[in-house]
């Protein structure tokens, strides 16, 4: 019952289900690392999903759809950045507003798109490698965006922890006044991080409608934006750990289906809870252990005003 085939099927599904989570989580990690808390992931994701679908339908080019989905996410992130960085407004409220805005607007504009058939991204088999048993099916028979997410995670890890610019982002999130005195333009760094974060979250949404479910319906993100906020905490604001987290959460999401399909009775109610329970456990850990390993950026969610001590 639980054999190689089962394992391959489960792992392949975990990556599929985890990829949209990975994009959004990476985006939010970059945003939060610079000190900006964007709670609007759910709204940005659904906007990316809708925009991507609509553009793919209109142009016949799913890649253009993915790009525009990302740009739409960036646009919403710009609203958030403007409020939280330029106007120093309460970041939680702007973020939550984005959720309502995104869900509302896509629900309204998207009603004529429900039931349409657009152009989608299909899995690309990597020659030779995809023939390796187990690993081939799991790792080398995914769609291009899934591969790209992994590469992206590696690049972001490199930028954050191995480059000077990464240091500036982290400094803006940890000690903005120190960064400022070192000549870092905190607002600019935060703007760029927030916009880039929005881009990735939007692409995560477009992945849902163009590569995964391959259709558009109202509210199809179904809470994934919130899951990603938990995933950011789970991964301790580290891109490399986000890979693990996203695939793990994706896997937990589909595990109950896999077990049921083999005839193992399992309560989906229980399975639905697991990701949240895991997050709470990780949160507990982050409190118990020293914050360097698990903790949030010290200035997360706090607007930076030059010369004012928070």
């Amino acid at each position: 019952m639980i054999d190689i085939g089962f394992l391959a099927s489960l792992l392949a599904s975990s990556i599929r289900a985890g990829t949209p989570l990975l994009y959004a989580t990476l985006g939010e990690i970059i945003t939060e690392r610079s000190g900006v808390l964007n709670l609007g992931l759910e709204g940005i994701m659904i906007t990316g999903a809708f925009t991507g679908f609509a553009v793919s339908l209109a142009t016949g080019n799913p890649w253009l759809g993915v790009l525009c989905g990302g740009l739409a996410g960036m646009l919403l992130a710009l609203v958030h950045a403007f409020f939280s960085i330029t106007l120093k407004a309460n970041q939680s409220i702007t973020g939550l507003m984005l959720v309502l805005l995104g869900l509302g607007i896509t629900g309204f504009l998207g009603r004529n798109y429900i039931g349409e058939v657009a152009f989608y991204l299909d899995p690309v088999k990597i020659p030779i490698l995809s023939d390796i048993p187990l690993i081939g099916q799991v790792l080398f028979n995914q769609d291009p965006l899934a591969y790209l997410a992994l590469i992206l995670a590696a690049i972001l890890w490199f930028i954050l922890f191995r480059t000077r610019y990464g240091l500036e982002i982290i400094a803006a999130g940890e000690k903005p006044e120190a960064a400022d005195s070192m000549g870092v333009n905190v607002d600019k760094v935060r703007y760029i991080s927030t916009l880039f974060g929005g881009l990735l979250v939007g692409i995560g949404g477009a992945y849902l409608s163009l590569a995964y479910a391959k259709l558009w319906t109202e509210g199809m993100t179904a809470g994934r934006g919130w899951i990603c906020l938990a995933l950011v905490i789970f991964s301790g604001w580290m891109p490399q750990r986000a890979i693990l987290g996203a695939y793990l959460f994706g896997g937990l999401d589909v595990l109950s289906f896999k077990l049921q399909a083999t005839g193992v009775g399992i309560s989906y109610h229980l399975m639905k809870m697991v990701p949240y329970v895991v997050t709470i456990v990780v949160l507990l850990f982050s409190v118990i252990r020293k914050r360097a390993a698990f903790g949030a950026p010290a200035a997360l969610g706090i607007p930076y005003v030059r010369g004012r001590k928070e």
Binding site: G5, F6, S9, S13, R16, A17, P20, V79, F82, F83, T86, L87, L100, L101, G104, I105, G107, F108, L109, R111, I114, G115, E116, V117, L208, Y212, A213, K214, L215, T217, E218, G219, M220, A222, D253, V254, F257, K258, Q260, A261, T262, G263, G265, I266, S267, Y268, H269, K272
Partner: protein, 383 residues
């Protein structure tokens, strides 16, 4: 100064955005009138009849609410009834307010189209004794509240015959939403159809616990296909399971409406709703002044449920078999409860109904067991 100006601009943009958002909300409660000149000339025909519909989900393009909305459009077109609807109404939340508002606005008939609207419908009906209420799929009635539903299991049974005949692996997958009697009944009827033509085949059930998460529904279908299922049926609103079947090159059975657009090669047929039959009947009764509270539960003989056109892949003998079984309903050869006629065994092999015994409507409406060729469990602690 410059800063203030900037703030103003932002506020203006935001206001525009919010307005657009609100427009979206408002757009959901749309009143549509058909300017059709042909008025029905019944005794009460002078006064224009107004009917309101309360929907649990967005109308969309393929699901439950969509099928009801087709019925709404039908009575508007054919009977010149003025209709209004509210979609995406939360069960046990906004429902009572929405129903009450329609009643206050003087709608003559109010259709509430989800099981969860039952108590709200009854509550509001008490305060508006002159308004007619019709609740879909429930069991509570009153002087001015009737219920209506369709015997979808009959169509499910027929699609099960198709699935049973077409499977090569003898494993048939069924992606199910939540374990309520309607869903369980559909699975059992489907499985009995499978058994009729293929006693070897088993129906594998995967519960998703969702109605509206297409990504998950697709993943559930893929899980079944990976386990060797070569026909996928569904009780879901979205066509995601159909698409999974299309991508993986297996067959599928649609639900709610003809879903062949999403899976032109996979989609063998679908069990479909045709609510216009019941809506027409109720509206005619109201127009003639002969309406009374009834518990309508009609089947394939009245056309409330039907099958979508067959895929070319379905061979002639299978079509003929389905037609013959369908004919039995039409000419009254079998009771309405068919295929729930003994012998019926549950998963543990217990005899639930002896040879020739017919399950009662009450037993059908509260069904909570799987028949013996279903693999899977019914999760506990659910309505």
């Amino acid at each position: 100064m410059k800063g203030k100006f900037l703030v103003l601009i932002v506020l203006a943009v935001l206001a525009a955005g919010l307005l657009a958002g609100c427009a979206g909300e408002e757009g959901k409660q749309t009143t549509t009138t058909t300017p059709t000149p042909e008025k029905t000339t019944t005794a009460e025909g002078k006064k224009e009849l107004k009917a309101a519909f309360v929907y649990v989900s967005p109308i969309g393009d393929a699901g439950w609410t969509y099928s009801h909305d087709l019925g709404r459009q039908y009575i508007e077109r054919v009977y010149g009834v003025k209709t209004a609807y509210a979609e995406n109404v939360a069960e046990g939340g906004d429902d009572e307010r929405v129903i009450r508002e329609f009643a206050e606005q003087g709608y003559d008939v109010i259709f509430t189209t989800s099981f969860g609207f039952m108590d709200a419908t009854i509550t509001v009906a008490k305060d508006f004794p002159d308004t007619i209420f019709e609740h879909c799929s429930g069991y509570k009635t009153a002087e001015n509240v009737g219920t209506y539903f369709g015997r979808m299991y009959q169509a499910r049974y027929l699609t099960g015959i198709v699935a049973g005949a077409m499977t090569k692996t003898n494993k048939i997958g069924y992606v199910a939403a939540v374990p309520i009697p309607e869903v369980i009944r559909g699975i059992n009827a489907f499985a009995l159809g499978v058994k009729k033509v293929n006693p070897e085949a088993k129906v594998y059930v995967v519960w998703t616990g969702t109605w509206y998460d297409p990504a998950k529904e697709k993943e559930a279908a893929i899980s079944l296909i990976d386990e060797g299922c070569d026909v996928i049926a569904q009780h879901q609103d979205s066509p995601a399971a159909q698409q999974a079947a299309e991508e993986r090159g297996v067959y599928s059975i649609g639900y709610h409406s003809d879903m062949s657009k999403f899976a032109p090669n996979a989609h063998l047929t679908a069990a479909m709703w045709n609510w216009s039959v019941i809506y027409s009947y109720i509206i005619e009764q109201v127009m003639q002044g002969t309406w009374k509270s009834e518990e309508i539960w009609w089947g394939i003989d009245k056309g409330v449920v039907a099958l979508a056109p067959f895929n070319d892949a379905v061979p002639e003998d299978v079509r003929k078999m389905v037609e013959e079984e369908k004919e039995k309903y039409l000419n009254g050869e079998v009771p309405e409860q068919y295929p729930f006629v003994g012998p019926i065994y549950d998963q543990q092999g217990n005899l639930v109904k002896a040879e020739g015994e017919v399950m009662t409507d009450e037993e059908l409406l509260s069904m909570s067991f799987f028949v013996d060729n279903v693999v899977g469990e019914i999760p506990a602690a659910s309505e």
